[in-house]
């Protein structure tokens, strides 16, 4: 790529980033990995829409912004702990404010034996050696531009390990709160999560804002689910209306491992969510269900990529999108059944609802099969509310807005019926209903 005459403000603001002290700075291996990633990111810049993966999401406006390198006051912003609570979730909690761990808001006492839960910043300062292998691998993995940026600048995050055979009895609450700072800040969080063989874990990831701000947050989660382990992961994304959130999650599943993920995307002005799953062991199962509900000029781009790499693996994905006003939704669901992954079963359904003539949703399911005896189904639709159903409801006395809300909620409902935590399921439904036009 030829150098542009005027520096891109986003990149220009990173010029001093290499000399910023982060947790773990001074560790030679970490310094080298961070430097390599920063250099690679700055050389290539932000991806543009010519890249297939960014076809529908233009980053030009983001490139024109100059973010502060973190928020120096992140450790001391007053945050009402009540705002962080979720009904039905009262176990261990790790809270990050503008990307920085907050011991004062977290709950880490009396952890179950076999459960290790710490902030990355603390691990890097106190005992980084056990993480060296994993981080080095993650930081050198081919990722996109934001994965590089995150690797270069992430100083905090979640380090979570469940020992083999341990069933964690309470959901772990990971809370990422955004709060106004002196300037538009960029924060970067890296999570490293591992479930040992036959371990079980219930994870709730919650993004929220204590007040409006325009920060950029990037979050990369590397999750390993070893043989026979089971993960339930619920994600409630309720970030600030004008914030930008780039989330990249990867899940590796061993033999007979299971992971189920439920996603509700509500907040943010620009949200990019990449979700990669690799079913590496025979009999691994992966399920994702998600919905985004957009309004205003929100732009949410979800990229789901699932690779079946072993025998008799199964994946099921059910995603719904609702866009109102001038919102824009993007969904790409790519499933690859690799050579040798015989007997795999993959299904993907993506249905979308446009509530306004100016809203837009682009959906693209992709299926590549290189194995034998594979069951695969996929479908995607974009449509409007059923006028006949709408009239039926109104003819019984329901006001137009209420009838539309009821039908829209019904459209989304299938997504969360499989969420096992009933209280959390109700909360997701309520959050969804509250967001629907009425």
């Amino acid at each position: 790529m030829s150098p542009s005459p005027a520096p891109v403000p986003f990149i220009d603001a990173l010029r001093e980033a290499g000399s910023v002290r982060l947790p773990g700075s001074g560790l030679a291996w970490l310094d080298a990995a961070r430097r390599e990633n920063l250099e690679a990111f700055m050389a290539a810049g932000l991806p543009d829409t010519r890249a297939e993966a960014w076809k529908y999401t233009a980053l030009r406006a983001l490139g024109q912004r100059r973010f502060a390198l973190g928020d120096a006051a992140a450790a001391s912003h007053p945050v009402d702990p009540y705002a962080l609570t979720l009904p039905g979730i009262d176990g261990p909690r790790l809270v990050f404010v503008n990307g920085v761990f907050r011991a004062d808001l977290s709950r880490l006492e009396a952890l179950l034996p076999g459960l290790s839960l710490q902030p990355l910043s603390r691990v890097l300062e106190n005992d980084p050696e056990p993480l060296r292998f994993a981080l080095n691998r993650h930081y050198r993995e081919a990722g996109d531009a934001f994965a590089q940026l995150n690797a270069a600048l992430a100083g905090d995050g979640v380090v979570l390990r469940v020992a083999p055979g341990v069933r964690v009895n309470k959901p772990i609450h990971l809370c990422f709160a955004g709060t106004p700072a002196q300037a538009d800040a960029a924060w970067h969080v890296r999570n490293v999560i591992e479930l040992g063989e036959n371990a079980e874990l219930d994870l709730v990831e919650h993004h929220l804002a204590t007040a409006q701000h325009k920060h950029l947050g990037t979050l990369v989660s590397d999750i390993v689910v070893r043989d026979g382990a089971k993960l339930q992961h619920a994600l409630l994304q309720n970030a600030a209306d004008e914030s930008t959130l780039i989330r990249r999650g990867s899940v590796h599943l061993g033999a007979k491992a299971q992971a189920a993920m439920h996603v509700l995307e509500l907040g943010g002005a620009l949200v990019r969510h990449d979700l990669h799953a690799q079913l590496r062991g025979d009999g691994a199962r992966f399920g994702t269900r998600g919905v985004f509900v957009l309004r205003g000029r929100q732009h949410v781009d979800t990229q789901l990529s699932i690779r079946h790499q072993a025998l008799n693996t199964a994946s099921e994905s059910i995603w719904r999108g609702v866009a109102d006003e001038r919102a824009r939704g993007v969904f790409r669901g790519a499933i690859v059944v690799a050579e040798g992954a015989d007997g795999s079963d993959a299904s993907l359904s993506n249905k979308n609802l446009l509530l306004s003539t100016q809203a837009e949703i682009d959906t693209k399911p992709e299926l590549e099969i290189y194995a034998d005896e594979v069951k695969a189904a996929h479908g995607a639709t974009v449509g409007q509310l059923d006028e006949r159903a709408l009239f039926y409801l109104r003819s019984r006395g329901l006001p137009n807005a209420e009838a539309r809300g009821l039908l829209t909620a019904a459209f989304c409902r299938a997504v969360f019926t499989s969420l096992p935590n009933e209280t959390l399921r109700d909360h997701f439904s309520d959050a969804l209903l509250a967001r629907l036009p009425s």
Partner: protein, 257 residues
């Protein structure tokens, strides 16, 4: 109660109602009969406010109000109920939840107190005596997977709960076997009262054996061409719709049997 004067209505650019005039008083049951294409369903749809029906002339007043100026939900709150010829399946919307939301929306619009779930349940139990539908159907999504008969019974059950002042039955008999027809008719008869009027739209006289009308009107080519008492329905049954056309040569070429 209901006064329709010289009503003209158009669907997709085609004139369907061409000067329909009808007066309905509280407590009366009026049957509207007519051949296919006469405008029977259009009448029900125009009265309930379905989109796509353009009224080009005439007026409809309901209890002194201009019915045509009201949104469908406001017509419902004013007391107009349409039992659909083809009740719509609505996956994901619970039947009971929907009915309570509808009733409370109407009550709110009328300035009445909303019913809590206990009060509503009590009302449902009471109305199930009028139109029996199974608990299982109550808890399913609206009309989803219901048989034809179950759908029609659900319509009458909704009517029982919502207690309209004017009930329009749009070919409620269509697709029903004789047992289902009797059940539906019993439900309707149980809801007859001095302050409630019915407009029973039907192609066949059969339904009127069970729901006895006070007046029978014959609709042909968008107009009422003949009115009488219940014996008119029997004459139609005997002679067919061609008989009406024969009596009004001006219409003979326009109506279909």
């Amino acid at each position: 109660m209901l006064k329709i004067e010289n009503l003209h209505a158009r669907v997709e650019g085609k004139d369907i109602l061409k000067g329909l005039t009808l007066s309905v008083n509280p407590g009366e049951v009026h049957a509207i009969m007519g051949p296919n294409g006469a405008g029977k369903s259009t009448l029900g749809n125009v009265l309930s406010g379905r989109e796509g029906y353009e009224v080009t002339a005439g007026s409809v007043t309901f209890q002194g109000r201009d019915l045509l100026a009201l949104e469908p939900e406001d017509r419902a709150a004013a007391g107009v109920f349409l039992a659909f010829q083809y009740p719509v399946e609505i996956p994901g919307v619970n039947n009971t939840y929907f009915l309570r939301a509808a009733l409370n929306a109407q009550r709110k619009q009328r300035g009445e107190a909303e019913l809590d779930s206990m009060q509503f349940l009590k009302l449902v139990r009471e109305k199930l005596k009028i139109m029996q539908i199974s608990d299982e159907l109550l808890h399913r999504a609206v009309n989803e997977g219901f048989s034809g008969g179950e759908k029609k019974r659900n319509e009458i059950f909704q009517m029982a709960v919502l207690e309209p002042k004017l009930a329009i039955l749009d070919e409620t008999d269509s697709g029903l076997d004789i047992d289902a027809l009797k059940q539906v008719a019993q439900g309707v008869n149980a809801l007859r009262s001095p302050d409630r009027a019915f407009l029973v739209i039907t192609h066949y006289q059969r339904l009127l054996d069970y729901i006895e009308p006070d007046f029978v009107h014959v609709l042909a080519d968008g107009r009422i061409v003949e009115s009488g008492d219940k014996t008119l329905a029997l004459k139609l049954e005997e002679h067919g719709y061609a008989w009406v056309n024969d009596r009004d040569p001006a219409l003979a070429h326009g109506a279909r049997a």
